[in-house]
């Protein structure tokens, strides 16, 4: 789905309310992806995001040219999971696995990626996937505020709605951390879910 053609859906998915969790249906989207493991706070994750955006630069450039004023900057996104999913809420970050991602336009493909001369760089690939039903909320502030919100999600909001997690936990970073103070950073927290028994 091309979200830039449906601004209402775009806002619904990327600019949720800060008040409480809401349910959204996330359609099939197209991403450029880099895989990684270990604590996202270590160098690896930010290097992966930088590499990801460098790789898709030719596509971003072409998209800005083609779309003009209807171009929307795609933010960096991260999926987190662990072999034992309990390691996620427990914060055992060294056991986390992650995917750094950015949405691609529908017409893009891997042949348009920029080619890195070094071979140490991680592999970027294009991947389509659909998260479906998700609970999400906008968090404004530093990352230390996130665990409280997630606890509310997993122990209150989801059980009250008869929902259970069904897929990797997802964060979308709407602000550049090099330019925006922690207390002002906006992060979308998203958890794919399904109804109990479904």
């Amino acid at each position: 789905m091309d979200l830039t053609k449906d601004r209402k859906k775009l806002k619904e998915l990327y600019l949720p309310d800060t008040e409480d969790f809401v349910l959204v249906d996330v359609p099939d989207l197209f991403f450029a992806v880099v895989d990684g493991e270990g604590s996202p706070e270590e160098e690896g994750a930010s290097a992966a995001i930088h590499h990801l955006f460098k790789t898709i630069y030719p596509i971003r450039r072409e998209a800005r040219k083609r779309m003009g004023k209807s171009f929307v900057e795609p933010p960096p996104e991260m999926l987190y999971w662990a072999d034992d999913m309990r390691d996620l809420p427990l914060g055992n970050k060294e056991r986390w696995k992650w995917k750094a991602m950015v949405v691609l336009p529908d017409w893009a493909d891997e042949s348009q990626f920029s080619v890195e001369d070094g071979n140490a760089a991680p592999t970027v690939r294009a991947e389509r996937f659909k998260e479906g039903l998700c609970a999400q909320i906008m968090h404004v502030g530093g990352s230390q505020g996130i665990p409280t919100l997630l606890e509310r999600l997993y122990t209150q909001y989801l059980p009250q709605q008869s929902l259970v997690p069904a897929g990797a936990y997802h964060e979308i970073y709407l602000d550049d951390w090099h330019r925006v103070a922690p207390e002002k950073r906006r992060t979308v927290l998203r958890q794919p879910v399904r109804f109990v028994g479904a």
């Binding site: 955006f53 971003r60 960096p76 550049d176 090099h178 922690p182």
Partner: protein, 178 residues
């Protein structure tokens, strides 16, 4: 606001402190990372000098946490924000033409030997092309950039493209001219 306001380096440092409170050394790193030295005169030693001036003027607040090795953290004051916003608006909203060295060279065209003058223009064309590539390289290396910074790069790239087209057209004409 008094006289012409802040100098370029004062304005830039104030802007970096406005993003979030930072130490002097952190400011140095950000200035380096964003390649700000290319377009402003700001040396490492002058960062602390300029910060001192901004502090004295009440535009930034310097706070040193307790501890012997603690570094001062600089944050923006309300006056600092007001001054910064006013000056940025003034810069963005008013146009002052700048003149390229090409004009001062070109105006003496009849005096220069034809072959050398044409060679000079060709050389300029090469330099502009090289600069376009360099700017594009920096832009790719700094990804992802927020949209307002992309706009800034669009401005630079557009100016270079215009100059390149002008040189090519002028060369073409002057080379053909009987």
């Amino acid at each position: 606001m008094k006289k012409s306001g802040l100098t370029d380096s004062e304005l830039l440092l104030l802007g970096l402190v406005a993003e979030m409170p930072r130490h002097g050394y952190e400011l140095e790193l950000v200035i380096e990372e964003r390649g700000m030295r290319e377009w402003t005169q700001i040396g490492f030693s002058s960062i602390y000098f300029v910060l001192g001036k901004l502090e004295k003027a009440g535009l930034v607040l310097a706070e040193a946490p307790a501890g012997s090795k603690a570094r001062k953290t600089y944050s923006l004051t309300a006056l600092g924000r007001e001054t910064l916003v006013a000056q940025a608006l003034e810069l963005l909203g008013s146009f002052r033409p700048t003149y390229s060295s090409a004009l001062l060279g070109m105006v003496h065209w009849p005096l220069m030997p034809r072959t050398e003058a044409l060679a000079a223009l060709r050389n300029r064309l090469q330099m502009v092309s090289a600069e376009m590539e360099r700017v594009e390289g920096i832009r790719c290396e700094r990804q992802p950039l927020p949209d307002f910074v992309e706009a800034l790069f669009d401005f630079l790239a557009g100016q270079l493209a215009t100059e390149k087209a002008w040189i090519a057209q002028t060369l073409d004409y002057l080379e053909t001219k009987p």
